[in-house]
């Protein structure tokens, strides 16, 4: 089989000429292909008013399904809940609801919707839309990870589990087109915070029913928030454009916002330094090796937020079934050294789990650094100077970006501290992320690196995790007394008393029983030039409503100063 197209292209030329022609052809095809390809990646689009590097590629923008911060930070622009977070304090303020009443027992909330609510595509937003959105988030078919945020509603958990089929039995109903009544299982002081979380956002029923699972990609996509989704190109960018029909559109600061997923910290820093990005708001996008230098710059902003780095014990195995052993290990850690030497971004050492500054709560003091007492406790447990203490493993995960290095360095530091102070020997086990999660779930570990970011601003989001049946417990530690305390706190309407009960529970967790050792509280780092970007405030939820952010050009700034 022999083809001869090249020959027939040049009739009359001899065979040698044909061969030259063949090479010419190849050359021409390659060159013209090259030019064509190079021109193929031009895209003519208006420039954005604001470009934000947003961390990981969003998994989904469906508010009922999303779970991560990059997703929340985009969805917050596209949809709104009954309340929203104040950009400065991160406390709930009126959103689509202009006001509410709460019954004296704290179990019934009546919300009044604003009278000027319209979808971005036209048509009113009504109480029925609210009910639909919440029921949808709870419906088993939606398969929402965060449906649990709505379990405070009466019958919600049973409805989600399929034990109740009739959605009208769930504790939410529309009294009239502008009024929604919600019934809760028990008084929930942070319920207004819940009403600002994405899982409760008001979403467009008709679009969802028409397009099904991938309704977010429907055009036009009705939005209830300050922005509409202009487009979403995977691993490229999400572009939002202002929704002129939003109830507070007059105060939306930027018309077009681009949110770019960036996987590599050095790419993020390069794009920022070269002026291709205005705002970088993911701590993972700060190159670890440069953290010391960068945090001294005026455009790098550190702030505390609701997140704790801690170690889990698997308390079902010897010798970690003995609280004295767990206490000893906790007391032998010099946490100050870890934050000064390894993390280096201004983190505070943690002796307790619930971060300082959490609403409705004053934290308790847990175990500090006391190697003498640590040795004493270990001896009491039957291991004087670590004699007879079995070798054990510390499990930590591989991660993207700088986090991997930090996990590993902390592991090495702990290994050394425990060897020097207690005479015990630990091996390190690094696992790929999903394998690590699976090991935690099956209690297939001795000690494991862990962290937790609060879902809402209340101690419950941290302390509730270690009740016997919670899926996030992952330590094998079960205490009826602890469960009773958490339950009692959640029935309590008096916030001061509630806080005291939570304190008792936390003391149990971090001083007496110690199924976990808190190491430090995370700090967040955003980077942007405060002379150019306005409306980003450091708050404890690290939450930044998009409609408040704007870029001021030097010119307009001069004008505004005059």
């Amino acid at each position: 089989m022999k083809s001869a197209p090249a020959r027939s292209w040049k009739p009359g030329v001899g065979s040698q000429g044909a061969r030259v022609g063949r090479w010419n052809t190849i050359f021409c095809v390659l060159t013209s292909g090259f030019c064509l390809l190079a021109s193929g990646c031009i895209r003519g689009e208006p420039a954005a008013d604001l470009t934000i590097l947003n961390g990981a590629e969003p998994e989904t923008l469906d508010p009922a399904i999303l779970t991560g911060q990059p997703e929340m930070r985009i969805a917050i622009g596209m949809f709104e809940g009954l309340t929203r977070f104040d950009p400065q304090t991160a406390r709930p303020i009126p959103g689509l609801a202009s006001g509410f009443e709460v019954s004296p027992d704290g179990r019934t909330y009546t919300f009044h919707l604003r009278t000027n609510l319209v979808w971005s595509t036209g048509g009113p937003i009504t109480a029925d839309d609210v009910v639909y959105s919440w029921i949808r988030a709870l419906a088993p078919a939606t398969a929402s990870d965060y449906a649990g945020q709505l379990f405070y509603l009466k019958n919600a958990e049973d409805f989600n589990a399929g034990k109740i089929k009739d959605p009208s039995r769930v504790g939410i109903r529309a009294l009239d087109p502008l009024t929604v009544r919600v019934e809760l299982n028990h008084p929930t002081p942070f319920f207004l915070d819940i009403c600002a979380l994405p899982v409760t956002y008001i979403v467009p029923r008709q679009t969802i029913e028409k397009y099904g699972d991938r309704w977010i990609m429907a055009r036009p996509l009705p939005s209830s928030g300050p922005y509409e989704l202009a487009y979403w190109r995977l691993n490229d960018k999400v572009r939002l454009k202002k929704n002129p029909r939003y109830w507070d559109a007059a105060h939306t600061q930027s018309d077009i916002i681009d949110l770019l997923p960036v996987g590599s910290p050095s790419a993020a820093l390069n794009l920022y330094m070269n002026g291709q990005a205005d705002l970088v708001w993911d701590k993972e996008l700060v190159p670890t090796e440069l953290v010391d230098l960068l945090i001294k710059r005026p455009d790098f902003h550190q702030f505390n937020y609701l997140a704790t780095y801690f170690i889990r014990f698997n308390v079902t195995q010897k010798p970690f079934d003995d609280p004295r052993v767990r206490q000893a290990l906790a007391l032998a850690i010099d946490k100050e050294r870890i934050v000064k030497k390894i993390t280096r971004a201004g983190e505070q050492p943690a002796s307790h789990l619930v971060p300082d500054g959490t609403a409705n709560y004053l934290p308790v003091e847990g175990l500090g650094y006391d190697p003498v007492r640590a040795r004493q406790l270990l001896a009491e447990a039957g291991y004087p100077d670590g004699k007879g203490f079995p070798r054990f493993e510390y499990t930590f995960n591989a991660a993207a970006g700088g986090a991997a290095e930090i996990h590993q360095n902390i592991a090495i530091e702990l290994q050394q501290m425990w060897r020097d102070q207690l005479g015990i020997h630990m091996d390190l086990r690094q696992l790929e992320w999903k394998v690590y999660l699976s090991a935690m779930d099956h209690l297939d570990y001795n000690l494991a690196r862990s962290s937790w970011v609060g879902d809402y601003n209340d101690p419950q989001t941290f302390l509730g995790m270690f009740t016997s049946t919670d899926g996030n417990n992952r330590t094998g530690w079960k205490s009826a007394a602890y469960d009773a305390l958490i339950n009692e706190a959640n029935q309590q309407t008096d916030l001061v008393k509630r806080g005291e009960i939570f304190q008792q529970a936390e003391t149990m967790l971090v001083s007496n029983q110690v199924p976990i050792i808190p190491l430090f509280f995370y700090v967040g780092i955003n980077y942007f030039d405060t002379n150019k970007i306005q409306g980003v405030y450091e708050n404890i939820l690290d939450d930044h409503p998009l409609q408040c952010i704007r870029k001021v050009s030097p010119k307009s700034k001069v004008r505004s100063q005059n």
Partner: protein, 304 residues
């Protein structure tokens, strides 16, 4: 006839590949819906598994997957739940293919002349310099070369953008970073081929007949010398076209390479199997193209 036969045999091959990929990715520990925060109740997890049929036996899931495949449906992504695998391929593949083709052109455009030049100047300093360059290109990995190029050309000299994928200028650095290895490889293969060809009998015969050295090199040696490059081109092109995790990550390019690696890490079953199949199809097609090109370039080669 031969090529039709080859195409026909590709089908069972693809079936085996898909089954193997499907099985391997399912036996890896952890699943697509394992997260740091466990859902509030076990039912939530069951709802998720039921929605994506993960509660069924693997063979049944595989049959379900094949059924979709027959209808041109690669299934929904389990990680990016607003997108199907078809969406991911449709958006990422053109980008990766554009970059890959550019890198391919770069590899041949630099590699062939360099190989020819070093062979023609064999044993002189030009040969050593050129061969050193080619070896360097093969030895320096992309994750070293790419940041180096960015630092020099984007940050210090400010000639080119640091990253992103919007204008042709943004394609230049990733093209070089991606194509450098192949360029070096092509140069070495071509040089080797040229030297071998120059020692063969028909060249000696031509030389004895008094044919000029340039004519000898260009007309006769090249045709034989290029054959190893051609056979390397098929897998090389398949490799370049399907994207590179490292290059796409460093230059923030919305290609398909990132999805293949992250898909595996995220246990995004459908994405992994879909992209593995895509890679397999490309590899089979390009190998076929290579064999086809052989018959065109070398009249001695015939397939039955």
């Amino acid at each position: 006839m031969y090529f039709l036969k080859r195409l026909f045999f590709a089908i069972p091959l693809l079936l085996v590949i898909s089954a193997l990929a499907f099985w391997l990715v399912h036996i890896a520990p952890g699943g697509p819906f394992d997260r740091e925060r466990a859902p509030a109740s076990p039912e939530i997890e069951r709802n998720l598994e039921a929605k994506y049929h993960l509660n069924e036996p693997v063979w049944k899931q595989y049959l379900r997957y094949l059924d979709g495949l027959v209808h041109g449906d690669f299934g929904p992504s389990l990680k990016y739940r607003d997108h199907t695998v078809n969406d991911i391929i449709a958006q990422g593949l053109p980008v990766s293919m554009t970059l890959g083709s550019l890198a391919f052109c770069f590899a041949l455009g630099i590699g062939l002349p360099l190989g020819f030049f070093t062979a023609a100047r064999r044993g002189r300093w030009e040969d050593y310099a050129g061969s050193f360059l080619a070896t360097l290109a093969v030895c320096v990995p992309g994750f070293v070369l790419a940041p180096f190029l960015v630092v020099v050309f984007a940050i210090k000299l400010k000639w080119l953008p640091v990253a992103l994928w919007e204008s042709p200028a943004q394609a230049i650095l990733p093209m070089i970073a991606l194509g450098a290895y192949s360029a070096g490889k092509v140069a070495r293969l071509f040089r080797e081929g040229m030297l071998n060809a120059m020692q063969s009998e028909f060249i000696t015969a031509a030389r004895a007949k008094g044919m000029g050295e340039n004519r000898l090199l260009f007309k006769h040696a090249v045709r034989i010398a290029v054959l190893p490059v051609v056979s390397y081109s098929g897998p090389m092109l398949a490799d370049l076209l399907t994207g590179s995790f490292i290059i796409e990550n460093i230059f923030q390019i919305p290609g398909i390479g990132v999805f293949l690696i992250n898909g595996a890490l995220n246990r995004d079953y459908t994405v992994v199997v879909g992209l593995a199949l895509l890679y397999a199809v490309l590899l089979i097609a390009l190998n076929l193209a290579v064999d086809f090109a052989y018959t065109w370039l070398d009249p001695r080669v015939k397939y039955e």
